[in-house]
């Protein structure tokens, strides 16, 4: 392909003073100096987190304070970077929630591995794991970046429950028959 040589246009006298360009630049600077700020003073100021934001995955409890996770390990299975590690266990007898039977003995999420994809929240059959607003995770060591079970519940807090599936089941057991 032939190369077409283009001759650069010669600058006019005014252009050769650079004055119009300088003034234009100064105008832009002044406009931003007086207008509203596009940045914020982090960490004193924090951005508003939109609904549906996928932050740090957390475990939640139901309004009765019961841990919702039953350690079905579906999140561990679905997790693409294998960040979740669960040791299943049984609910101790006489804890008042015998009907649930199963709860995690240990629940670790390695935040160095987590990619915040939200598949764990999507797959959870008990609505126990949620990616919440927390977005800044930092630590001085690798082990600090692994969220253990107590930390996950601390981050997660309590969520409202629409079903109270296990309470319904317990009530049915108590009256000796018939649950939904």
């Amino acid at each position: 392909m032939a190369v077409i040589q283009v001759q650069r246009r010669a600058l006019t006298l005014v252009e050769r003073t650079y004055f119009p360009q300088l003034m234009g630049a100064m105008f832009t600077t002044l406009k931003h100096l007086l207008g509203p700020a596009d940045t914020m003073e982090y960490p004193e100021q924090r951005p508003a987190i939109p609904a549906g934001y996928r932050g740090v995955p957390t475990l939640v409890k139901d309004p009765n304070g019961r841990e919702k996770c039953v350690s079905c390990q579906l999140c561990e299975f679905v997790c693409p970077p294998k960040a979740i590690r669960i040791t299943p266990g049984s609910v101790p007898e006489g804890a008042g929630i015998d009907q649930v039977e199963k709860a995690p003995q240990a629940f670790d999420i390695d935040m160095l591995r987590c990619i915040y994809c939200g598949l764990c929240e999507e797959v959870c059959p008990e609505e126990a794991i949620f990616l919440q607003n927390q977005y800044s995770m930092s630590g001085y060591s690798r082990s600090e970046m692994v969220n253990h079970k107590d930390r996950l519940y601390e981050l997660g807090g309590t969520f409202p429950d629409r079903h109270f599936k296990w309470d319904v089941k317990k009530a049915a057991e108590a009256r000796g028959g018939g649950h939904d």
Binding site: C72, F77, P88, E101, K102, P125, E126, A172, H179
Partner: protein, 562 residues
């Protein structure tokens, strides 16, 4: 065999007379869903999931002449207007069934809806999830939502049927497989259904428990999560587990197993179907053997005179001990064929005679034979020993007392448990290759920790002289040396031939040197095992009595052998 032709979904298949239609369809790769049917149990026909359309060839009632269909030019098929259960329909000439018609689909969807009416939504906490027939079929024939407006049944959730089996009655679909198994296979008729209708519950006979040695087979055959293993309960979801073929080493039956492991830990052992050995069953006593892998007292350090060492130095030290002469080798009926071959090579190099320790108990006539050593016949086949072993090492003890034997190589056998006294152990230098700490490892000059059967590959020869492969399920514990490596190095160090240290190359040497295994290669042993010719050893008084698929050649002598 009498083969007859039946027609399934328009395809002809020749099957033996009397084959039921689920099995016939399986031959064509057609799946007929079922719950209560099990190939090794009688047909109960109570789940109704295997409903199919059935038809027979039309014949004139008066003349018995075939009625031809003018459209196709073939004999017409009279389709029965109602569906029939495939499990209780046996093959007869000219039988036609259809498994893909809208009626069959409707039947399956209807049966599924009824089965799920009272089934709890326990899948997240249910151990059967992932291998549950109800889950599998509900993806194909489930409704996806419930039309049931009444309350679901409440039944006991944690009944201890026995020491190893926990029952969740809510999940039970009353297929009666477990009831039939106990009655027909174990002849221990403890299970049954109490109450009627939706109140039906699986229960033990009052005052009895499900505690026979085969109780965990009911867990395996339970198509849902009703019967669960107390040991495996809530331990791990099955979809994480890797399956490896193994062999039950509890006795010389050699039941085929599947070892389920994840990340180097074994979680459970279940039977693998082998119609010539164990059908689809195995004994409970064989299922807990995996615990030896992580058991307390597992050896993990090579030691020479009590000090930590490395394999090279340990082998050199052992060779130094054995070179002084007066060496004896105690092999094991628990070692694999490959290890026994190497043990024989070690004996040859040392000019020593090998002794074995026998473990004879009481056979149960099913899948635990009298000989608790899984591989005594392997020692005979490889030529490690020529006669059957005795329960105690009396002749070895006498040789130690007389000073004839001054050094003993023990390959996994506890000499103290085999009848040698502490004084006798103190008189000899012991080289111990084994997995767990015991009196012998404590008394040994050289200790080389080795692998359990779950951590290595190899073969065993069972009571039928069937050579069966097992595969490495989990990596060996830290510090343990592969038995083959240790034995091969030791043999070479005492002046024997240089032998292969891996199963594959070793088998070329085994095939070349062992006459009975001349035509065998490790890679070509099928998963169901290979029957060897046992006639050279037919005259030996083996301890086994009759078990499932095994009849002893000669009646076992009544009195205990010396």
């Amino acid at each position: 065999m009498d083969l007859i032709t039946v027609n399934i979904d328009g395809r002809d298949v020749a099957v033996p007379k009397g084959t039921n239609m689920i099995e016939a369809a399986r031959l064509l790769g057609i799946d007929v869903p079922h719950y209560c049917y099990h190939p090794k149990l009688t047909v109960a026909g109570n789940c109704r999931m295997c409903l199919v359309e059935m038809g027979t060839l039309a014949a004139d009632p008066a003349t018995k002449a075939p009625v031809m269909d003018p459209a196709t030019g073939k004999q017409r098929v009279n389709w029965v207007p109602r569906p029939a259960i495939a499990c209780a329909t046996s093959a007869q000439p000219g039988l036609h069934i259809r498994t893909t018609t809208p009626m069959v689909r409707d039947c399956r969807e209807g049966v599924m809806e009824f089965l799920l009416i009272n089934h709890p939504l326990d899948c997240p906490i249910c151990d059967q999830a992932g291998e549950c027939k109800l889950q599998e079929q509900s993806t194909g024939y489930g409704r996806g939502y419930s039309r049931y407006v009444e309350h679901k049944n409440v039944k006991p959730k944690r009944t201890q049927l026995g020491p190893r089996v926990t029952l969740d009655d809510e999940r039970c679909i009353l297929c009666s497989r477990c009831v039939r198994f106990c009655k027909e296979i174990v002849k221990d008729d403890v299970l049954g259904f109490a109450d009627r209708g939706s109140y039906s519950t699986l229960t033990c006979y009052p005052g009895r428990r499900l505690e026979n040695d085969y109780s965990l087979n009911t867990v395996d055959i339970c198509p849902v999560g009703a019967l669960t293993s107390t040991d495996f309960r809530f331990k791990m979801r099955v979809w994480f587990l890797k399956q490896t073929n193994g062999i039950d080493t509890g006795s010389s039956v050699g039941a085929n197993t599947v070892v389920w492991s994840r990340e180097g830990a074994v979680y459970r052992v279940t039977p693998r179907r082998n119609d010539a050995v164990n059908d689809t069953w195995m004994a409970d006593s064989g299922r807990i053997l995996y615990k030896e892998v992580r058991a307390h007292g597992r050896l993990g350090t090579i030691r020479v005179n009590g000090a930590e060492s490395a394999l090279e130095f340990a082998v050199r030290a052992a060779a130094g001990i054995l070179a002084k002469g007066g060496a004896a080798v105690v092999g094991s009926g628990r070692s694999s064929v490959e290890e026994q071959f190497l043990s024989r090579k070690l004996c040859d190099a040392l000019g020593a005679r090998a002794s074995l320790v026998s473990r004879v108990g009481k056979g149960d006539g099913l899948l635990v034979s009298a000989d608790r050593n899984p591989n005594v016949r392997g020692a005979l086949v490889t030529g490690l020993v020529a006669a059957l072993p005795s329960a105690t090492l009396e002749s070895l003890g006498a040789q130690i007392d007389s000073g004839q034997v001054t050094a003993v190589v023990s390959i996994g056998e506890d000499l103290a448990a085999a009848g040698l006294s502490a004084a006798q152990l103190a008189r000899v230098s012991i080289v111990y290759l084994g997995t767990h700490a015991n009196a012998t490892s404590a008394a040994a000059r050289v200790v080389i920790p080795t692998l359990t059967l779950f951590e290595k590959s190899g073969t065993l020869v069972n009571q039928q002289f069937r050579i069966q492969k097992f595969a490495k399920a989990v990596p060996g514990v830290a510090g343990a040396t592969d038995d083959l490596l240790a034995l091969a190095r030791l043999t070479a160090a005492v002046g024997g031939p240089v032998l292969a240290e891996d199963v594959g190359p070793l088998w070329t040497q085994i095939a070349a040197e062992v006459p009975a295994l001349g035509a065998v290669s490790f890679a070509r042993i099928p998963d169901t095992g290979l029957l060897l010719d046992g006639t050279p050893w037919a005259g030996l008084p083996f301890a086994e009595g009759p078990t499932l698929h095994f009849v002893p050649a000669a009646p076992a002598p009544k009195e205990a052998r010396p």
